[in-house]
């Protein structure tokens, strides 16, 4: 045992360069591999902490075009009519701007706290622990509130929050269902529970919860048109805006349940459609149940979502590990020429196959041990930066179960891939031949090098294409001008927008001010039934309320018609080009359309602009012009140089309206970047890991060419004596590798094309893959190879031949 270990360490020291190449390669790849695995694990672990995760499903439905949330009544009927259901829970989202406690305003740093109205089954169904409060009956009355630990801390400090009364400035984050009327801002909410902050790997993410029953108080206040025949939220099927979670008893048939839910919906929607006079418009709907564990990684219909990225990174981790293992195998088998003599002699001396395998494995173990120690140190050092880049909060504890599992897998795969093969290979040498055989398995080695380069080339092409795609999206013409726009919340200035506007326009650096009810130029979409020219259709409309000058300030073009300047109100509307096409509306100007039973006259057609993320294509949009409707957001255009002065003016006004609230603003173009942050982060991670993979490949190549140069020292000497020049020799040494790269390219390019083409289809607006992207990737690979190989080859070629051919 120790004898072998001693020999192993001595061998590693003697072959210093190769040992260092192996250790660096394995260390870097283990580090990268574990960092990626942490990321992958983090993504995978989303929503898996719920004890009942196997049985919880989110209900969605589709009309074969779009996906919708559920109506509030569904949960009640489903529970009553489907015996397999154990528990149901509805969730309605809010964003809230602030809380008031003892006349003190408390704002979240980010400006927005997320809250929800939930059924009291929430804590029974989901595994969110309560620090204080009763999970069976979390809300004592309609005006109860449950706060997250950190929310409670920022409101109450060290005080005990239980039973304390606070006011809250809720603002519903969707149009049309401002469920909490503004009068309720003056109500006191009593804290009846404190929950642990929801873990970061939870798709359900709230800072506070209020009871769903509170909403029902307001149902009667809705207008009759929207209510239809329903009397309460528990009956309502007219508003499909709620998340409904169902918990089933274990072993329930989910497929059957989906059908039952669909039937319940159709049965209940009929009276509503009757009341609306639209019974012939029963949409083709299909309900489906999405497992809670699939919320983060899959799309609503079960197709691949985020999981694509997770898979991509898992594959990259595998590739990086594989590349390092290939390096190891290559270098060990390449050197068997030298080692085989030793092995041969050992066999003559009576060593069994297993002895030799063990000896060789021990060398692998020593190298792995050193690499794991170094990798652990590296991971600790790199984790903060890695968290920052990936925007996650991953933790690395050496002795935690997860990390040990990862190391275990790495250990086994390296031992398996990199240890066993060379060991058996070394051990199986026929002792009689052992002293002569030199390049027995060189074709196997060539195969591995080709494999390695396939990995690298695919990664390089991917990096190029993904970078181009990101740039394409960022530079895409959005249909409006996003530069030099400051976004400011209009909360608290409501109804005084005109005064604010005229005050701001006194500053010459402010060239335009407008308001809209949507933030960051992103409009929400809702399903509306639209009637026009004797037709009727359910169409998903983006909807926005904007001020008259919105079009001038944001530089949104009108194709025809005009903005209804003089007569604000919802009787007029503007449609975008896509809406006109979707409705097949001829001569749209001055046509009357009926949107959810309200009549609107079309006064203009707006040139298409992007009001959603760019992975969506532009959908129909309807814009209403208002003076001071729910316009929660100011868009302020400044001159390019005058931003500072403009901000000063805005802040001054802000202070007049919000003496209690810190000034907050953002730039539209920065917000836009922020929207694609996840993509940008992903791109950056891809860069880093592709770079690592390529570097490790080059490292292996360097080792191989060093070895080749070493074994060919004599041949190089002879050739030089025969008149070969340095470039002849460099050619000779590099040619083989270049051929291998050529083969790798032939295989890698179609592979890369296939998967990149598939990936780009996820984007509604994407670049097309061009031949030059492959050419560039090829050129980069060849260049890297030439640098790696050439440097060593030149060194070998310039050795004085007298040294290399000296007779022994």
């Amino acid at each position: 045992m120790f004898y072998n270990l001693k020999i192993a360490i001595r061998n590693l020291r003697r072959n210093g360069l190769y040992s260092i190449i192996n250790i660096i390669g394995l260390t870097v790849s283990l580090t990268a591999c574990i960092l990626i695995t942490l990321w992958v694990y983090d993504e995978w672990s989303y929503d898996r902490f719920h004890k009942n995760k196997e049985n919880i499903y989110l209900v969605k439905f589709t009309d074969n075009k779009d996906y919708f949330d559920t109506p509030a009544g569904l949960s009640v009927n489903a529970k009553a009519e489907i015996p397999e259901i154990k528990e149901t829970c509805r969730i309605d989202n809010y964003s809230s701007s602030f809380f008031i406690y003892n006349d003190r305003y408390i704002f979240n740093n980010t400006g927005i706290t997320h809250g929800a109205a939930v059924d009291s089954s929430f804590f029974r169904m989901f595994s969110f622990p309560l620090i204080d409060g009763n999970p069976q009956k979390p809300f004592e009355s309609d005006f109860s509130i449950i706060l997250s630990e950190s929310m409670a801390k920022s409101i109450f400090g060290d005080e005990n929050p239980m039973g304390k009364a606070i006011k809250a400035g809720f603002s519903a984050n969707r149009f049309g269902n401002t469920v909490i009327p503004s009068g309720w801002y003056d109500e006191y909410y009593y804290v009846t529970g404190i929950m642990k902050d929801m873990p970061e790997n939870s798709s359900i993410q709230y800072d506070y919860l209020i009871p769903f029953s509170l909403l029902s108080r307001n149902y009667a206040g809705r207008n009759n048109e929207a209510r239809g025949p329903f009397n309460s939220w528990d009956e309502d099927y007219g508003t499909c805006d709620f998340d409904t979670y169902l918990e089933f008893y274990p072993g329930s048939n989910i497929k059957q349940a989906e059908e039952k839910v669909t039937n319940i919906f159709i049965k209940r929607i009929m009276p509503y459609l009757n009341a609306m006079g639209a019974v012939d418009q029963l949409p083709q709907v299909k309900f489906f149940l999405q497992p809670v564990t699939a919320l983060h990684l899959y799309n609503a219909d079960g197709s691949s979502g985020e999981i694509v990225k997770v898979r991509m990174f898992a594959i990259i981790a595998g590739l990086i590990l594989a590349i390092a293992c290939i390096n190891y195998v290559n270098l060990v088998t390449a050197r068997t020429g030298k080692r085989s003599k030793e092995m041969g002699i050992r066999k003559f001396l009576g060593a069994k196959w297993i002895n030799i395998v063990l000896q060789s494995l021990q060398e692998t173990c020593v190298i792995l041990f050193v690499s794991i120690v170094l990798a652990t140190v590296l991971i600790y050092l790199l984790l903060p930066a890695y968290n920052q880049i990936s925007g996650k909060n991953m933790e690395f504890h050496l002795l935690s179960f997860n990390v040990l599992i990862i190391y275990g897998i790495a250990l086994l795969s390296v031992l398996g891939l990199a240890g066993i093969y060379p060991s058996i290979y070394l051990a199986s040498f026929n002792p009689a031949k052992a002293t002569k055989s030199k390049n027995l398995h060189s074709s196997f080695r060539k195969g591995l090098v080709v494999l390695q380069f396939i990995c690298s080339i695919v990664l390089i092409v991917s990096t190029i294409v993904i970078t181009l795609q990101m740039n394409f999206i960022r530079k895409k013409d959005l249909g409006y001008e996003k530069e030099n726009i400051i976004c400011v919340s209009a909360w608290g200035m409501k109804g005084r927008q005109d005064m604010v506007r005229s005050e701001l326009q006194k500053n010459p650096n402010i060239t335009g001010v407008t308001t809209a009810n949507f933030d960051n130029m992103l409009c929400q979409r809702y399903s509306y039934s639209v009637r026009w020219q004797g037709q009727e259709k359910a169409i998903n409309f983006g909807i926005g309320f904007v001020n008259f000058d919105f079009f001038d300030v944001m530089n949104v073009q009108l194709v025809e018609g005009q903005v209804p300047h003089e007569t604000p109100g919802e009787q007029y509307c503007l449609l975008n080009e896509t809406a006109i096409r979707a409705m097949e509306l001829k001569d749209p100007l001055n046509q009357t359309i009926k949107l959810d039973d309200q009549l609107h006259v079309v006064t203009g057609v707006v040139k298409d602009f992007h009001f959603e993320k760019l992975n969506q294509s532009i959908t129909p949009l309807v814009l209403f012009c208002t003076k001071d409707y729910e316009s929660n957001f100011f868009y302020i255009r400044t001159t390019a140089q005058g931003t500072k002065s403009a901000l000063a003016s805005i802040e001054k006004l802000w202070k007049e309206y919000h003496p209690n609230r810190p000034f907050s603003y953002s730039f539209l173009d920065e917000n836009f970047e922020h929207l694609y942050k996840a993509d940008i982060r992903l791109g950056l991670l891809l860069y880093i890991f592709a770079f690592i993979a390529i570097m490790i490949s080059c490292l292996g190549l360097f080792g191989l060419v060093t070895y080749t140069a070493e074994t060919k020292t004599k041949e190089i000497g002879i050739r030089k004596v025969l008149g070969a020049s340095v470039s002849n020799i460099v050619n000779m040494l590099s040619k083989e590798f270049l051929i291998l790269i050529g083969v790798a390219m032939l295989i890698a390019f179609p592979l890369a094309y296939y998967w990149l083409d598939k990936m780009l289809q996820d984007y509604a607006y994407h670049i097309s893959i061009g031949w030059w992207m492959f050419a560039l990737a090829g050129a980069i690979t060849i260049l890297l190879t030439l640098v790696t190989v050439g440097w060593r080859a030149v060194k070998a070629a310039t050795v004085n031949p007298v040294e290399s051919i000296k007779t022994e």
Partner: protein
């Protein structure tokens, strides 16, 4: 007869921990076209070093060396390499054939570096295989040949570029006496019939006497 090479005060040394060690000291030589010279001397006397320096494989520190009228000591590396490539053939005691190449490929190797076209190369190789009577062996690898045959290939390879000067470092050192005799016969024939200038390093008095004159080295100096 023309002078093929001439050295004046040629000196080579290396510095090591115990001071300066002279490998060649004040070598003055003049060799005419068509001469057959034998270099003798005990081990370490500088025979091989002298051969390497004359063959431009190695450099020297002092003195002058003129080869077919060109002052080698003033030439740049590249020019020296050209001069060497076109005019000098080398033969080694250990043959130094390339194991991975066949006999024909070994012989062809130097021509690759002369920029010769494939057709011409094949013709030249066929010619010399014929001349050396080894056509039947052209597709064998060095390991499949006897020592004498390998050396024959080595000589063929050296001669294929039609060198003016043939340098042989103990060409018969690894051969038995019969094979040695045959190689020496060949040398005489090349020298007499083809007019090739030969400088051979040898330990054998008998082989040395086949040459026109003998240069004896001791501790890097010419003693005779």
């Amino acid at each position: 007869m023309n002078t093929i090479l001439k050295t004046k005060h040629l000196t080579k040394w290396v510095d090591n921990s115990s001071g300066r060690v002279f490998l060649l000291r004040d070598i003055n030589l003049e060799i005419k076209q068509g001469e057959f010279i034998s270099v003798m001397g005990p081990s370490g006397s500088g025979k091989s070093t002298l051969l390497n320096v004359l063959g431009m494989l190695d450099t020297f520190n002092e003195g002058e060396y003129e080869f077919i009228g060109q002052p080698v000591h003033t030439l740049k590396e590249r020019q020296r390499s050209e001069l060497h490539k076109h005019n000098i053939g080398f033969i080694f005691q250990a043959y130094h054939l390339i194991d991975e190449l066949t006999v024909a490929e070994n012989i062809e190797a130097p021509l690759l570096y002369h920029g010769m076209k494939q057709k011409e190369r094949q013709a030249a190789v066929a010619d010399i295989l014929d001349r050396f009577n080894i056509v039947g062996k052209k597709d064998l690898f060095p390991a499949q040949l006897s020592g004498g045959q390998q050396q024959l290939v080595g000589i063929a390879r050296a001669l294929i570029v039609k060198p003016k000067l043939l340098l042989a470092d103990e060409p018969t050192g690894n051969l038995n006496s019969k094979q040695g005799e045959e190689i020496m016969e060949l040398f005489n024939k090349l020298n007499e019939e083809d007019g090739v200038t030969i400088i051979q390093v040898t330990h054998s008095e008998k082989n040395a006497n086949r040459g026109d004159r003998i240069i004896e080295l001791l501790d890097g100096r010419i003693v005779k």
